[in-house]
Symmetry: C2
Subunit: 591 residues, 2 copies
Amino acid sequence: MNHQENLSQLRKLMQQHQVDACIIPSADPHLSEYVPEFYKQLRFMCGFTGSMGTVVVTHDFAGLWTDFRYFQQAEKELNNTGFELVKLKVQYQPEYIEWLNGSLAQGATVAFDFRLLPVSLVAQIEEGLSHKKVALKSVDFVSEIWTERPAMPSQQAFLLDETACGMSFSEKLHQLRNKIKQEKANTLILSALDEIAWLFNLRGSDVNFNPVVVGFAIVTTAEVKLYLAEGKLSEPDLSFLQAQGIFIYPYDDFEGHLAPLPITSEVLIDPKRTSYQVQHILPGQVKCKFGDSLIAPLKSIKNDVEVANIRLSMIKDGIAITRFFKWLEENAGSGEVTEWLAAEKITAYRAAQQTYAGPSFAPISAYGPNAAMPHYSPDQRDEIKLKPEGLYLLDSGGHYFHGTTDITRTLPLGALTEEEMMDYTLVLSAMISGSMAKFPRGTRGYQIDGICRKQMWEHGINYGHGTGHGVGYFLNVHEGPQNIGPSNVPVALEAGMLTSMEPGIYRNGKHGVRIENLILTIEDHTTDFGEFLSFETLTLAHIDTSCIVRSLLNEKQISWLNEYHQEVYRQLSPFLNAEEQSWLSGKCKAI
Amino acid sequence: MNHQENLSQLRKLMQQHQVDACIIPSADPHLSEYVPEFYKQLRFMCGFTGSMGTVVVTHDFAGLWTDFRYFQQAEKELNNTGFELVKLKVQYQPEYIEWLNGSLAQGATVAFDFRLLPVSLVAQIEEGLSHKKVALKSVDFVSEIWTERPAMPSQQAFLLDETACGMSFSEKLHQLRNKIKQEKANTLILSALDEIAWLFNLRGSDVNFNPVVVGFAIVTTAEVKLYLAEGKLSEPDLSFLQAQGIFIYPYDDFEGHLAPLPITSEVLIDPKRTSYQVQHILPGQVKCKFGDSLIAPLKSIKNDVEVANIRLSMIKDGIAITRFFKWLEENAGSGEVTEWLAAEKITAYRAAQQTYAGPSFAPISAYGPNAAMPHYSPDQRDEIKLKPEGLYLLDSGGHYFHGTTDITRTLPLGALTEEEMMDYTLVLSAMISGSMAKFPRGTRGYQIDGICRKQMWEHGINYGHGTGHGVGYFLNVHEGPQNIGPSNVPVALEAGMLTSMEPGIYRNGKHGVRIENLILTIEDHTTDFGEFLSFETLTLAHIDTSCIVRSLLNEKQISWLNEYHQEVYRQLSPFLNAEEQSWLSGKCKAI
């Protein structure tokens, strides 16, 4: 892999095709958070292994735009590649558009693979470069250079039966078609893999951490077409889907089916999760209606079967977490436990649970100052050893065939500073305040966010990430549409939504604290003022009480914590041996 | 005024002009909250006197669409007019579009005065009726019918000098042009009257409650054109503006100056505050860029001179309020004080203050169950008398030549129920929680909203309005861009913003409580986590303490209240006589 060689080949192709600038994103045609090996084109082109970045190449500059999480790593990885690191000022912003606007000549040609950029981003590119009257061109230069490109994933997919997912395809289709009609449209194009997985009750292992299957779907008021690689489904699963009237086509047929769509089509497209290629191929007369995903709101409300199954996953996950922390307490003092080893260990404890299907993301196993980086991931080569002092943070999660988990605990490995204890308690206080909130139907996550942060704000403290994200049901650990955070996401929290609650405090070079549970929005009670909702905490694992500064919590918060610990012990203890029970009982003691 | 006659004349005109449906809004070409008499076309056409409604007429139906605030009133007023009340399900939604979509034939012609509907609303009409392929046509039938239409306002306007407004026109223009360039545009069209007033340091009395002047402006990177009715300005003011390079034209010349704009123009338009007429007249080649107002964010940050002046207004307003409540306490028991009389009285106390310029809105003087209607306005004919029991609510405000106020107090006129006291205290608690909040730069009003509501939510209580709105400087009492409330307004609270803080509780048929101060966002302190902001309460008037349920407030809130009362007394007492001082001192006693 000679990256300089890649770059010069790319520039040769750009010259041949009269391209002035080439944009290469870290993305696939489904705009997924995690992509199959086949789409790790940034790693191939310039050696950058981070999950988020964009390469932009002109004839006299080659840059990788990425955010603060990857500055150090990218500098190392880009060394001697011919690619320069360009530091993003604002995370996720396509700041290269502004740069292109300053660098390109009038009438320049900008090329990228139309399949890899979402409709919304291309609109930004067009707007940002409008003064330059650039031409956009679809190219796939990477495939020409990357002669030994990995194959597309070929693992078999499978269907969830109704006892696992609680709602049949036909019922979901019925709901979806009603929504399509409400939008005064007749066609919906689906590219987002978790939406396809939800609709067809389909799961697979095409992508790391996301139990999804690479595919597309076209749903009209009259028919349903599903596009999957051949051989993805077993014969019985294939027949099952076909028996429900679904037409199944090879994955590569998808694009060919767009152009012949009837010109009376009114096509709903989620511009953030649909590639520009789709818009580009659709016949000009077809009416495109851009709007938020119709499936995300349906998918976010977990049905009764899903909720019951999630509760079982939480018990399994709680057992794994309990065993892990017991092991950690017994071994951290040895000086031989590294962050990496701890991450392997929690994965092993989860894997020992029946119905485990894999990690829901790469564990963040972070000791001391490393925990101050919210998206830290341990590197085996670094051999960071835990010592009997300071704070250790573990943010991890698993997929079970009946639910997805995501949990963070921070705990002391020995003596703590006063600041560490204060920060720990303020995070716990924020987590409890959010978890205890009651609120009227219609309340949005950003209002809950203020409630969570209020107390630490009084102490002049804040955290730079959201407070909570939606979590899928045996699906992506990050899903929409709801969000608890400062962003203006105009989505009300509804009964049945599963969301994380994970405030944190991070002190550069010192320590990081985050405590995270998953909470289910439930109906609380109805008053003269309408229906009120609240949260039920589903995650079951003790929260360290030894480093609490009691004066920072009020009596209601302490009661909440004591009741939570009673519940953790009640639910987990039947599955633990006597020694584990006794250990957990100590951890769950009322304060 | 025979409304049936109006309707039949309108239908005759519709027939002559081949119009199938006619939309008549309660609006002027500036999309103002309050409109001049000239634009009260709904009152003329159908007799409806509410401030918000839309008349839609077809050949077989004539309806007035309005919201719950006006249901009773509209039913009364529309009786025997030929117009029917159509109740809006959601406030401010143009639900008549859906109705037109169901009623009109393919290819129908829908007519309205293009000057009276904003760009954003016409886009909704076009979208909502797209299946019907309707033609839109601009008509002004009302003028043809309304032969004795009132004249346009002719009161003289005036300029504020720099000691009053703190920033010269040329400095504001400089800031504005920078923003125009940042948006990669060269032309800004201004229709919103408070924006024009701010930019030119111009005030007037063309509209009830808003000290603005009817006009338009076109600001380009090269020149500034201001359109005002002739005679609006005194000769010295006219010369002063002209000396700064402003070209002043007659109001009616505005439209004629749009068509000849150079085709290289890139025109910024706020689609909510610019009429569709503007977009319609602009040459097709001109590039329109739709986006939020550039002036609103500049106007919202009060400069040091403005803040110092606002403090003076608050003292004057506080004196008026103090005298009013003393008078009320001494007279409410007489059985002769009506809601209307009380409203007149507070206006009179304000008018006695030097530099008073008028009420900033119609006082909400509401006794008992009437206060449960947040937008209630007393009617002289109703003669609602205050009695020595229950709660009285007064929401009122004044314009001074150096600031605008808006204050609500609720107070007991005698014995209260336990529920009244609980509700009173929960509202006070919400008001204090919001006022005490500290928060990092970047925090938005919706996060503060959650902090305000948290405690009453725990009691299953909520209120259906926002918690706070921006307030102008001797300008409109409602202004953007910031907002404290559930809406997804993505605007951070910045130092210098003046906002109301006004939670409430309303129990239908029983009582209403609201307590409102104006708060200034100020810089608080900087920590490792960045800059923190907080609020300084500017309103100076005691808050009744006799009906507080002490257990619902925490110690910090009680300290806040006691310190606030000390400050109120310290600032107001020098301007009060001995008797008033002694009365206020009692009201400000620490609890």
